[in-house]
């Protein structure tokens, strides 16, 4: 099997797996007051310190969640509610046009059900939100903006946003900026304090930790209204029994991913360049999407003119090569990517694209296998597309 879908999920690291396996064998609710509880609480707090340390935050700023989607929902809905409550004039929710659905959908929900005004920040052809675009959007009614959310790096095309600059613009107006850094941690230098963002999402299973664990970093003084109500375990902002084994594995994965970041990113970039060269050798008219200067090292998002992405995916899958159409599915049908459409692509081009993403365990052999399979697959997919009226 040639696994080229690490942006969907990537293998759990052995270190994280060992930690979790050990922890699953132990007893204790981190909220209990007795010895077992204190032991579990210690594991959670050490995990919190490790995550904070790795990401340039203080332990108090780390709110553990069950993953990226929950963290994004808490940031978008929670900050909207809090900011709107403090000043009812704040209704505008500004989100990047290429955000993940975990940000777009809660933002649209606040508009549909909570009286918010949903506004998308347009991107350029490379997928970037320009600081002056954000400034102009805010300027239309600065007092009316509840929050801004722009991802650190895009999950489909890999374009890296100028998050620090965007956060600086938002801060000029006293507006909190949330950034979904799910794809960035471990390959980009993510430093929460240095960035100036008010909130940042990180997820475990994209960087070698378990699925079902993540965190929302919240700067001091940034207090979203909770989405989940209950025991108030996390700063009274997030309720739910803490998943001690998962959080321990998550922290281990974050710590190692950040420590190894520079070398890992360089290695991925080399592999990615090799992959793109191999594909181009077989399909000379392949188009590389995203920002060539500012993109994640492990993501290669390619358009194959005259093909349908889902046909290519199936043909490659039959050869044991696993990749993604990159876009969200609706009942198993890949829709034209909102990311590519926002970048100005026409629907046919958007549908002709595949995402190949690399990670730990990827090798030159993967690129070579893809290079071998892609030519015949593209030829067949083109023939199939031509027969479709």
């Amino acid at each position: 099997m040639v696994y080229l879908d690490h942006a969907a999920t990537t293998p759990v690291r052995a270190e994280a797996l060992a930690d979790m396996t050990e922890e699953f064998g132990r007893l204790g609710n981190a909220s209990s007051l007795h010895g077992s509880g204190r032991r579990a609480r210690r594991v959670v707090e050490e995990a919190r310190e490790a995550v904070a340390d790795a990401l340039g935050a203080t332990p108090h700023e780390v709110v553990f969640t069950a993953g990226g989607t929950e963290a994004d929902n808490l940031a978008v809905k929670g900050l909207y509610w809090a900011r709107h409550r403090a000043d009812p004039a704040r209704r505008r929710v500004l989100v990047g046009a290429v955000e993940h659905h975990a940000v777009l959908d809660p933002a649209k929900w606040t508009a549909d059900h909570q009286g918010a005004v949903y506004e998308e920040l347009p991107v350029d052809r490379l997928g970037r939100v320009h600081p002056d675009v954000l400034r102009a959007a805010i300027e239309r009614d600065p007092g009316g903006v509840a929050l801004v959310s722009v991802m650190w790096a895009n999950n489909e095309v890999g374009t890296v946003q100028p998050v620090a600059e965007l956060a600086a613009v938002a801060r000029e107006y006293g507006i909190p900026l949330h950034t979904d850094a799910v794809q960035a941690v471990g390959v980009e230098p993510v430093d929460f304090a240095a960035t100036g963002a008010a909130a940042l999402t990180v997820s475990g299973h994209k960087l070698g930790g378990p699925v079902g664990a993540g965190a929302l970093l919240l700067a001091r003084g940034v207090d979203p209204v909770p989405v989940l109500h209950g025991g108030g375990q996390e700063r009274e902002v997030r309720s739910g029994t803490l998943a001690v084994p998962l959080l321990r594995g998550f922290a281990t994965a974050v710590r190692l991913a950040v420590a190894e970041r520079a070398g890992h990113a360089a290695r991925l970039a080399g592999l990615r360049d090799g992959l793109e060269a191999a594909v181009r050798a077989a399909v000379p008219d392949v188009v590389v999407n995203g920002d060539p200067e500012h993109r994640l090292p492990g993501i290669s998002h390619l358009s194959f003119p005259g093909c349908e992405g889902d046909a290519l995916l199936m043909l490659l899958d039959a050869r044991g090569i696993e990749c993604s159409t990159g876009s969200a599915c609706s009942a198993g049908v890949a829709r034209a990517s909102h990311v590519l459409l926002a970048m100005g692509a026409d629907p046919d081009t958007a549908r002709s694209s595949l995402r190949f993403s690399l990670g730990r365990g990827s090798t030159d052999g993967d690129a070579a296998a893809l290079g071998e399979a892609i030519g015949p697959a593209v030829a067949r997919a083109r023939a199939a597309r031509e027969r479709r009226r």
Binding site: A311, A318, G332, V333, R380, E386, R387, R388
Partner: protein, 364 residues
């Protein structure tokens, strides 16, 4: 024939038949890939649960069946083609005063055209479905389960389409299929049969057509042209229909004899006037024999699950003419006339006109 290992695309609706068909193809040693066809851009607008084949729930059922069988599974988006070639065609046919069969059209234009074309281009050898029909030496034959036989809605397929078709269920009954699904651990074993039209969510065909065509009132006439009443949309009627005429106080039972789109009129009359013995049909397809150019004795079926009528049939200038040995009632334009020799399909054409030549079978 099955000694050869083929790359087979199994169209999986989420129902029990297509699941067992896919399982049989895999068990026969073929390299099978399951594909569920997404036929609506908005799956929630189609029939839900057990009734349809096009919903998110059906897609999940199909995926689970593929898991159990152990074959790869994908969803193909055919919503654009389905809307254009089946739904819009359905509406246009009613607007023209005909009574279409959308399942037949789906087989003709989607499953064994758009899907088959794409499959062949992508390297598949055949499309496998769960239709109850046999394919013997390239010719369609009725299922051994006559109550479930679907040869009528497949007779529209040409020989070149049948060359790439695989129907593994034709030699057994529906009850046997369900038992086999149970034995194979397929959760859809008890799923009720689908009925009615998958793209009409609430089963209200008349309401669906009114929404597309509007409800334009028109006259209800008798055979002499005298106006007996009004209707609120000619698409609400089909030839042979008796209910819904609302001709209060009419002394005799009357039936819809014809629908005339030009003046939006519906003609009614006594049952005897429904009986026709000459039928002309267009776009003949001959998959079971060479085109019958001379009057030839055979049997014809004039609607799904309808009875068969002995007749003589011949094609001239692209038009099929049928002379029935004894008149038949309720023959609607737009339906298929499917010719059989015993249980073997000879050909099919779309009914365009009917006539009554005389008492008793008329001479050619």
């Amino acid at each position: 024939m099955t000694a050869q290992r083929l790359r087979v695309l199994a169209a999986m609706s989420g129902g029990v038949d297509s699941a067992v068909a896919a399982a049989r193809a895999a068990e026969a040693g073929h390299d099978v890939t399951g594909v569920h066809l997404a036929l609506s851009a908005n799956p929630r607008s189609y029939r839900t649960g057990a009734r349809g084949c096009c919903t998110v729930e059906d897609s999940r059922d199909a995926r689970r069946a593929a898991d159990v069988i152990g074959i790869p599974f994908y969803v193909w988006d055919m919503a654009e083609e389905f809307d254009r070639d089946v739904v819009q065609d359905f509406v246009a046919e009613y607007a023209a005063g005909r009574t279409p069969n959308p399942c037949l059209r789906c087989n003709e234009k989607i499953k064994f055209a758009a899907v088959l074309d794409r499959a062949v281009a992508l390297g598949f050898d055949a499309v496998c479905t769960g239709h109850h029909v046999r394919l013997v030496d390239g010719r369609l034959r009725r299922s051994v389960d006559l109550a479930k036989d679907q040869s009528y809605v497949l007779a529209v397929l040409r020989r070149d389409q049948l060359d790439h078709a695989m129907f593994p269920l034709g030699d057994c009954t529906k009850a046997e299929v369900r038992a086999e699904a149970e034995r194979r651990g397929l959760a859809v074993a008890d799923k009720p049969d689908s009925h009615d039209i998958c793209f009409i969510a609430d089963g209200d065909t008349s309401g669906f057509l009114s929404g597309r065509l509007g409800a334009t009132p028109g006259p209800i006439k008798d055979e002499s042209g005298a106006v007996l009443g009004t209707h609120d949309g000619a698409h609400r009627f089909t030839v042979g229909q008796r209910k819904g005429l609302n001709l209060g106080g009419a002394p005799d039972r009357r039936y819809v004899l014809s629908i005339e789109p030009v003046d939006n009129s519906v003609t009614v009359g006594p049952r005897e006037s429904l009986r026709v013995d000459e039928i002309t049909a267009e776009r003949p397809v001959w998959s079971g024999c060479a085109p019958l150019t001379e009057p030839t004795a055979c049997a014809v079926q004039l609607r799904a699950h309808g009875e068969v009528h002995p007749c003589r049939a011949w094609e001239r200038d692209g038009v099929l003419t049928l002379r029935l040995d004894t008149p038949a009632a309720g023959v609607a334009a737009g339906q298929a006339a499917v010719l059989y020799d015993g249980d073997t399909v000879l050909g099919s054409a779309t009914i365009s006109a009917t006539a009554r030549l005389s008492e008793g079978a008329a001479a050619g």
